[in-house]
Structure formats: C-alpha cells, structure tokens
C-alpha cells in the first residue's frame, strides 16, 4: 500500500469520494497541504484603513511563497495556487484574492477532478475512457476499489489513535502519527484541532524529531494552521467564495462611486483616459 504521507489530501479524497467530493474541499485541502509543506506561507498583518474621518485596523492574512517553493515538485492541480508565484515570486497575495485566483484557475469542477486523478500516484486506481473523460465520470477500477477500502480503514485507525494520543497528551506519538498522515490529517473526522494545537513547540523542535521534520519538509509552525483551518475564518473564506462566486460579478457592485468631504460633489463621471500616458512629474 502507498504510504499515506505520499498521498495528497485531494488525491485521498478523490479515491474515497470520487465525483461526490466537493470542489471546495478539494481546493481547501490542497491549499492547506501546501501550507503544511511550506511551499506557501501564511503571514498575518495588521492593516490600517481610512474609515470616514478616522482609521480602523484590520487583521489580514497574506500568502507568500515558502522556503520549499523552489524545490517543490508540484502536481498540476496544485498549480492553481502556485502559478502566480512562479510568474511573480515576490508577490504577497491577500488570502481571499489567492482563493479567487484558485477558483478562476479551476475552470470547471470536472476538469479539476480530472487533473487530480491523472496524477501519477493515483492514476492507476481509476478507469479511463473517452466517454468517462467527456462526461467527467470518475470510476475506480478493481485495484482502486480495493485500495479505497484499505485507505478508509487506515484513516479510521489513525483517527482513533491520534485522538487518543492527543487526549492522553502523548505528544510524541501524536507527532509521529501526524508525520505519517501528512496533509491527510485534514480528512480525519474525530480529530480535535484545538488539542492538536496544544502540541508543544518545544517537542516539535526537539533534536530527535527535527531530522524527521526536515526530511518531511514540514515545520513546527505549520501545525498552527492545521488548528486554524478548522476553527473559523479559513473555512468560512472558502465557504463564502463558494456561495458568492456566482453573484460576485453582479452589476450592483460596479455601479457607483461617491465623493467624500473634499473633492467633487457629484461623484465622478469617468475621465477621458489616455492612450499612452505621459508618465509622471
């Protein structure tokens, strides 16, 4: 059986759920897996905005390329988030904007699923034919079906072992299990992410584990985002995108502009534009 840590969570989900897997989840787990592997990093920043006559502060999450970006061999479906950084490596993207980039790059759910199952690690488990490709049907072959059963059992087993290890505060075992699971930890049903967050950073930094971490390209602060992923805004950002993406372009949004306390009283009516701007002074 393929090692769990070799399977990316979106691949695991495609084996387990096939065409019933939600696009939002496939995208979300792909994103989280890339954060976990430090291919991309999440940075929190406080922004100050002019609001009326005063200022307001707002926490914002930025995504930048991570230390493993340059050496990471990305699968084509992961490129929905990475291609921007290939073209502009120094870019700092607001989290919600990068999610939009991802949604735009997906094009259609069927195409995205196809990209995932065509990945060499799992392509062997799926039946491929012109008709299936045309209609976006995902069907496991007999080897794939057998693998799915094994995978399901294995994940259930990890689920119970990891929960116990966290409840019993056996952090070393928990960490060992996490390393074996890789990004598939997001797929566990019973995991308490708050308990997971309680893993002591000092344990993660201990010498005997450091080597494993390095070899697995993981780093201790990535686990913070593991916990974060299930507790709030992270999920809701994907949710709101999924809910609002169709109405996003509604004509309402683009309709108006207004003046504030100085400047024109009638808003603005569009400048004449220019064709070849004269630069600046």
């Amino acid at each position: 059986m393929i090692q769990l840590s070799k399977l990316k969570p979106a691949e695991t989900l495609m084996i387990l759920e096939g065409s019933k897997s939600e696009l939002k989840n496939l995208m979300k787990y792909t994103f989280m897996d890339l954060v976990l592997k430090k291919v991309i990093l999440v940075k929190e920043t406080t922004l100050t905005y002019k609001s009326g006559r005063g200022y307001r502060e707002q926490q914002s999450k930025y995504i930048i390329k991570g230390p493993n970006f340059d050496n990471y061999k990305a699968s084509s479906f992961e490129e929905i988030y990475l291609s921007t950084f290939h073209k502009s490596p120094e870019l700092k993207a607001i989290f919600s904007k990068l999610i939009k980039v991802g949604y735009e790059a997906v094009v259609t759910e069927k195409k995205f699923r196809k990209k995932i199952i065509d990945n060499e690690t799992i392509a062997q488990f799926f039946t491929s034919s012109l008709i299936y490709n045309l209609f976006g049907i995902v069907i496991l072959n007999s080897v794939g079906y057998e693998f799915k059963l094994q995978l399901k059992n294995k994940l259930d087993d990890y689920d119970s072992k990891l929960s116990k290890a966290l409840v019993n505060k056996n952090h070393e075992l928990a960490l060992q299990l996490l390393l074996e699971l890789g990004g598939n930890v997001f797929l566990l049903k019973n995991i308490d992410f708050e308990l997971l967050q309680a893993i002591d950073i000092s344990i993660l930094q201990s010498e005997n584990l450091k080597e494993q971490f390095d070899s697995n390209r993981y780093d201790y602060d990535s686990w913070y985002y593991l916990a974060y992923s299930d507790t709030g805004s992270f999920n809701s950002s994907f949710d709101s995108w999924d809910d609002n993406s169709s109405s996003f372009d509604s004509s309402y949004h683009a309709a108006g502009c207004s003046s504030t306390d100085s400047g024109c009283s009638s808003g603005c009516s569009g400048c004449g534009g220019c064709s070849g701007c004269g630069g600046c002074s």
Partner: protein, 166 residues
C-alpha cells in the same frame, strides 16, 4: 536588487501598501479585474508592477512612462482619491506623483524613449527583466491603444480574426 538603504525602506513601505480593502465585497482588485477583463492572477501581478513603477518614479531623476497595463492600475488608483493622494502619495511615498496624459502625436517619440528608459531602469534597479506580459517591448507598447468603454449589456464583443504569418 540594487537598492541603497533609503531605497530599501521606501520599497518596503510601497510594497506593503494595501490597495484592497479586505472588508469590501468589491475591492480595488475586483474592480480592476472587472473593468479590464483581467484574471485575478493578472490583476495581483499588475498591481505589484504598478507599485514597482511608482517606486522607480520616486527614485528616478528622469520622467518615466508605464506600460498600458500598469497605467490602467494607476488610472483606477487615481479614482480612489483618498487612497491615492493621502495614503499612498503623502504617507507612503512622501511625494505627490501626478499623472500626465499624452497631448498627442507630437509626443509619441518622447514617450517611446521614456518607456524604453523605464524598462532599462527597471532592470537595473530590480536586477531582473520586467515581465513581458505586463511590460511589453516598446514597439508593441504604443500599438495597442485603441480602447473604448463598451456597455456589455447592449453590445457583443467579437474579437477580430488574426491572420498569422509563419
């Protein structure tokens, strides 16, 4: 990058200047994407290039000319007057940078030269070539200028067929 210390500080503050209000459901980059029919990826990259251009303007003794893509970002930013004049020019760059539309054909050669100078200056300062999809070569830069505002509710937009020579 070939920056001195002062440049480093200035670039850092320009780079970190946020044009998107993250609480807004239709932010700067959303509008930029909609008005230019650009993907969000292209918008984010064009905004970064706009910031680089403004940085170059701040440190250059010569007038500079942006690409049309960067110019579109600039136009839109100018509409956000509070953000542009107060937050960006006054507080971030400490310099008021005015936008000067062309006065006609007679200036075209000047702009071509300025644009080429801008590309060269970009390369010198950032130690890399400006990305061609946002900063096309100067021969191309002044050819794609026939833009107009179209109401998509009343009009279809059909691209002209391109005859390609091999």
């Amino acid at each position: 990058m070939s920056f001195n210390n002062e440049h480093q500080i200035l670039w850092h503050s320009i780079e970190n200047f946020e044009m998107d209000d993250i609480e807004s459901s239709f932010s700067f980059s959303d509008r930029l994407s909609r008005e230019n029919d650009w993907s969000m990826e292209f918008c984010l990259r064009a905004i970064l290039e706009y910031k680089k251009f403004m940085f170059l303007v701040c440190i250059s003794n010569e007038p500079l000319t942006p690409s049309d893509e960067v110019d579109q970002v600039w136009h839109l930013h100018l509409l956000y007057t509070q953000s542009y004049w107060n937050e960006f020019c006054d507080k971030t760059m400490n310099k008021q940078i005015h936008h000067g539309p062309t006065r006609g054909k007679e200036e075209q050669i000047t702009f071509k030269d300025q644009y080429q100078f801008t590309l060269d200056f970009y390369e010198t300062i950032f130690n890399l070539k400006a990305p061609q999809d946002i900063w096309p070569q100067s021969e191309k830069r002044f050819k794609s200028i026939h833009f107009t505002r179209v109401n998509k509710e009343k009009n279809w937009i059909i691209p002209k067929l391109k005859l390609r020579r091999k």
